[in-house]
């Protein structure tokens, strides 16, 4: 294993609201190797997007506040760098694709204007206008948009959802970043269009050797799009493993519950789901945050937080659960 290009250590985030502090992220830790495709999967409200917003330092603050931890990109702690340095890293070092391509594009500028702006601000070299335009058209061609010259002069409203997401992918890759964060890029799309966009995205990141953090709530999508999967629940990472390993031998009770609740093409009905709901972030459980819903909860689970334990080396598999050894903190 090489050096991680992006490493998040013990990240804590809270949101200040009228009633008090919502402790949203509770010690998130993960790392991404150079060129690796990492999936981050979890249900709505588990903190996937919040985690990745912290990486780009675009967490809305107030109410959000990073209360602890470190985010290292090539060894520099992103939580300590200057605004200027941050601006340089955004775009050319780390880029992001958002869930909603409608909100991610400015409706009053043409596609061409927006792609050019990304290239102008995201590269350090001074480029001529013609060069910028040439690169922008190249980026649009790369995402297989039909008739790039016409697209260049079009406004976002003139494009379908799938095409807009292609434009966003073009913008995210135009500056050759080392890490790309894809936040549910296909959730808003139909299944056949999703297949097209995922296929394209996967081919592009492999060609460019870009590392990807793929955020999604779909276990099926994460299985096809990543080499390594982290499962997140209520502001903590509960399990991480090589993709095939995770789907063949899931360990954490939450992962097991999620997988069984998913309707399968092979039929056989749908399991009961996971009882209860995601904890109240104002007063989260003191021990394992999944313990109130966990079918295997023991007494220790209510009192202490399980630590991240390595349970297998080849293939690698890590889990934060008292069922698999590990001590509390």
């Amino acid at each position: 294993m090489g050096d991680p290009i992006l490493q998040i250590d013990d990240l804590h985030v809270s949101y200040k609201v009228y009633e008090g502090r919502l402790r949203v992220l509770n010690g998130v830790a993960l790392h991404v190797e150079r060129g690796q495709r990492v999936g981050l999967v979890g249900e709505a409200g588990c903190g996937k997007t919040t985690t990745m917003r912290c990486v780009l330092r675009i967490l809305q603050s107030p109410p959000g506040r990073i209360t602890g931890g470190a985010i290292r990109y090539r060894g520099t702690n992103l939580l300590r760098v200057s605004q200027g340095e941050l601006q340089r890293i955004r775009g050319s070092g780390i880029s992001m694709i958002f869930q909603d391509p409608v909100a991610a594009l400015n409706p009053v500028f043409t596609i061409g204007d927006q792609v050019c702006a990304v290239i102008r601000h995201g590269t350090h070299k001074r480029l001529t206008r013609a060069e910028i335009r040439r690169r922008a058209l190249g980026a649009l061609r790369e995402v297989q948009l039909p008739d790039p010259d016409r697209m260049f002069a079009s406004y976002p409203v003139q494009l379908s959802g799938g095409m807009r997401q292609r434009v966003c992918i073009a913008m995210a890759l135009a500056t050759e970043p080392e890490v790309m964060i894809a936040d549910e890029p296909t959730t808003a799309l139909d299944v056949t269009i999703q297949a097209q966009v995922l296929w394209l995205l996967d081919r592009l990141v492999q060609d460019h050797e870009t590392a990807v953090v793929f955020i999604t709530h779909s276990l099926g999508v994460v299985r096809e799009m990543s080499d390594w999967v982290y499962v997140m629940y209520a502001g903590t990472i509960v399990e991480g493993a090589e993709t095939n390993e995770l789907f063949e031998r899931p360990l954490h009770p939450y992962t097991l519950g999620l997988l069984s609740a998913l309707p399968k093409l092979t039929g056989g009905g749908i399991a009961k789901g996971i009882p209860g709901r995601i904890p109240d972030y104002l007063n989260p459980p003191t021990g394992c945050r999944f313990s109130p819903r966990c079918p295997n909860a023991m007494r220790v689970c209510d009192q202490e937080r399980p630590i991240w334990t390595r349970v297998g080396d080849t293939p690698a598999h890590e889990v934060a659960c008292f069922l698999y050894g590990g001590e509390g903190v």
Partner: protein, 329 residues
Amino acid sequence: MKREILVVDGLQKFFVTSRGTVRAVDRVSFSVREGETLGLVGESGSGKSTVAYTVIGLHAPTGGRILFNSQDMSTSIWKRSRALKRSIQIVFQDPGTSLNPRRTVQQILELPLKVHRVGTARERKARTVELLRKVELPEDYLYKAPHMLGGGERQMVAIARALATDPRLILLDEPTSALDVSIQAKIINMLLGFQNEMELAYLFITHDLSLMRNVATRVAIMYLGKICETAPTEEFFRNPLHPYTQMLLSSIPVVSKEEEAMRPARIISKGEIPSPVNVPPGCGFHTRCVVCATRCSTDQPVMVEVEDGHFVSCLSFPPPSDVQQLPVN
């Protein structure tokens, strides 16, 4: 075989707009039997919701007939008898907008009872409590407003409201697509329980084929306002025939090797669903079809029964003269 409770025959619904006529639903025929679930599956823009809205009476049909218990109800909602309206209910996709934010849960559940003049005030109160218990919500939820509930709980209130008048048929318009899988599992199991208990018929509208594999008795696939394939669920997934169905199935992200084996070979989908204002001539799918022939852009396919109960509308399946045809044209 059970009695057909809903028969839709050659249904058409067009919308006249300034940019042309939108052929949202064009000669759609299907039936739902007592106590069974028909899964109506399609991508956005395929017209599946328009079918539901026309059946419930929100839109008056442009052409064709809708029969409920052999009674013609192709007229506008105002001409339907109260008894008829009472027997057909609907659950919408987004419980955030389908529940009145200024009413309490009790008022929401009581309204259909008042409209249909069910019982005395005291009996209605008792009935709302009973309905809440049915969807496994505590009694004190009667006094809550929708915004105080989670997404899953709101959908359960919407389901309880649909059950209030003892309907025979419920139209489910993507009831779980806005929810997490663990909540989806709970709601689906609840719906299946009610179906068993009360012999309800469901017209289940969704884009999720994996879900239909586990829920539907029969599946119908819609594309661009038309049904292109329909079959009993087992048969449908064992032997998908229409090229669009195959593309759709091969695009589904799955979580296990067994499911992968169920999928047809990977067809990389191309193109997007055309606008229903400019429906392509011939077969509507020919612009994206991988096995498209020249005549596909000129000839209209007809519904052909390939096997018992398995109908497909594709020119590669020519209608033998002795085979029964559904009136598509």
